[in-house]
């Protein structure tokens, strides 16, 4: 009697437990797919907007290394053939600092990798978001989930939906071969783009922000230390993120991607499982209890 009473869960407890379980599913990292916190030794790129002169050497180096076609006119938007872009997206004061380098932000909480059904987008052990074009099935989910609008889907045929996605890979081929790092950072003549271990770059960036503030740039800030779980493309900005077209809180789409993968799809599989087990059990009971000679 007392055990029964002790085991009884009232409605408030049930709601509390359900809420905790749901939150856990959404917030608990999914092991291999995503790391919970970026490590100091992860690889990262640091972009310093105050040093960028908009020479587009990064764009050209990216195209050369990845065998991407050179356009007749300069790219104005990211595309399947432009993975690195110097542009002014957010209406930055042109007299102040008009340029920003747009490329994959390599989020720790990468909504693209969470949403990708084929494993083409994945979190590399070294922290960046790798991309395997051969595995891409062209669903375009990554292009819709990314809070920065980075992966671009090139739709070849609107009727068949045939298309391929492409984005910055952190020059993963060079990293894997040990022959260097991201070509954009290696080509930058002013040191606006550098690469290395994330912990080291973070320390450098914080020092640089302090220097900029001391030098009169009161709006200088570091973007990417904690956004979307911590970016592996850190940015030193001279103004608010919105001035560069960057979201203040890019974590929302990761929540949606997690909801999609961790709640909606498992719930679907559970529903199918319950339906299948239900009909098999029902069939067993029906066969045992229903006498066919009585069936009209």
């Amino acid at each position: 009697m007392s055990n029964t009473h002790a085991a009884r869960v009232n409605r408030r407890d049930f709601l509390r437990l359900s809420g905790a379980g749901l939150s856990g599913l959404l917030l608990y990292p999914s092991g291999q797919a995503l790391a919970s916190m970026p490590a100091e030794s992860d690889l990262a790129i640091l972009y310093d907007a105050s040093k960028c002169i908009g020479c587009r050497a990064c764009e050209r180096a990216c195209k050369t290394h990845n065998n991407l076609p050179e356009p007749e006119a300069a790219n104005t938007e990211l595309s399947p053939t432009a993975w690195n872009l110097i542009a002014a997206r957010g209406g930055v004061d042109p007299d102040n600092q008009p340029f920003f380098n747009y490329q994959c932000m390599h989020c720790t909480d990468a909504a693209c990798a969470m949403a990708c059904p084929s494993g083409a987008m994945a979190i590399d052990d070294r922290g960046f978001v790798s991309f395997d074009q051969e595995r891409c099935v062209g669903c375009g989910y990554c292009s819709q989930f990314c809070p920065f609008g980075i992966p671009q889907l090139g739709t070849v045929n609107l009727i068949t939906g045939e298309g391929r996605v492409a984005k910055c890979t952190f020059c993963q081929d060079k990293i894997e071969a040990g022959t260097g790092g991201p070509s954009c950072a290696e080509a930058c003549p002013t040191g606006a783009l550098t690469w290395g271990e994330r912990g080291t770059l973070l320390a450098e960036a914080k020092t640089r922000v302090s220097e900029l503030k001391a030098g009169g740039h009161s709006g200088a800030l570091l973007y990417g230390e904690e956004e979307a779980g911590g970016l592996h493309r850190l940015s030193i900005l001279l103004d608010q993120p919105s001035a560069y077209g960057l979201p203040e809180d890019p974590g929302g789409s990761f929540f949606l991607a997690r909801l999609y993968r961790k709640i909606v799809q498992p719930a679907g599989m559970a529903a199918f499982g319950v339906a299948l087990v239900g009909v098999v059990t029902a069939y067993g009971l029906a066969r045992r209890n229903i006498h066919m000679e009585e069936v009209e």
């Binding site: 990708c116 062209g138 669903c139 909801l259």
Partner: protein
């Protein structure tokens, strides 16, 4: 139709009653034939574990099959509405009509389908409560598939990303509900030992008079008479 029982002189007279038109049966099977490849090809994006299991090139091509099947699936009710609008309207009106007998039917359905106890089953119209629930799920599901599917197909990159994500989740929820219902519908219509006449009616268009009287009394007798007979039957406590 008269049938002589094997090895005896007994003759059984079976009166067949038309239940579905030829077009209804044809479109039902077209709808089924398009739903299955839609579900199978949809599973590949729904379940990441399948991912590129069939080969990434194959997955890319399966998307075309998904779109062809989707057009057939969505076009079927439109063709029905164009060719037999009165029948469609009549059925839809019945699908959306529920009364207290439907609650009784749901309560009695478990002992009926599991144990074969028919006594508590209240009189039903042309479509019983389960069939109407299945139809409702399919109508709402098809509409949800249509809106979300067309939005994702033609709106990718054009509509706001959050709207796209909402459509994706609606598409998946519609799939979850309709596929779970499809499993139950398939079991009851094809596998369940007592429902063979239902399958026969969707094949040939007819049910026997005795089946109609027992399972769809409100359709066979008319609503008033069927309810009167049912109340009389339950008052007598008869089987």
């Amino acid at each position: 139709m008269s049938v002589r029982l094997k090895g005896t002189d007994s003759v059984v007279h079976i009166r067949w009653i038309p239940r579905y038109t030829g077009l209804e049966r044809f479109l039902h099977w077209v709808h089924t034939a398009s739903f299955i490849p839609l579900a199978l090809t949809g599973f590949i994006l729904f379940l990441p574990v399948l991912g590129c299991g069939a080969g990434c090139l194959a997955v890319r091509n399966l998307r075309i099959l998904h779109r062809i099947a989707a057009v057939i699936f969505g076009g079927t009710p439109i063709v029905y509405g164009l060719l037999q609008p009165r029948r469609l309207l009549m059925h839809v009106r019945e699908f959306f009509t529920f009364c207290r007998y439907d609650i009784q039917w749901l309560k009695a359905a478990v002992p009926y389908y599991l144990l074969g106890r028919h006594a508590a089953m209240p009189p039903q119209p042309r479509f019983n409560t389960g069939e109407r629930l299945n139809a409702l799920v399919m109508i709402v599901g098809t509409a949800a598939f249509g809106v979300s599917g067309l939005g994702m197909w033609f709106g990718k990159g054009l509509i706001p990303a959050n709207l796209y994500l909402a459509l994706l989740i609606i598409h998946d929820l519609a799939f979850i509900v309709t596929f779970a219902m499809f499993i139950v519908h398939f079991y009851l219509a094809v596998i369940h030992p007592m429902m063979w006449q239902s399958l026969v009616s969707m094949r040939f268009g007819y049910v026997s008079e005795s089946y109609a009287r027992k399972h769809h009394a409100r359709w066979y007798y008319g609503r008033e008479r069927a309810i009167r007979l049912w109340e009389q039957h339950t008052a007598e406590g008869g089987e």
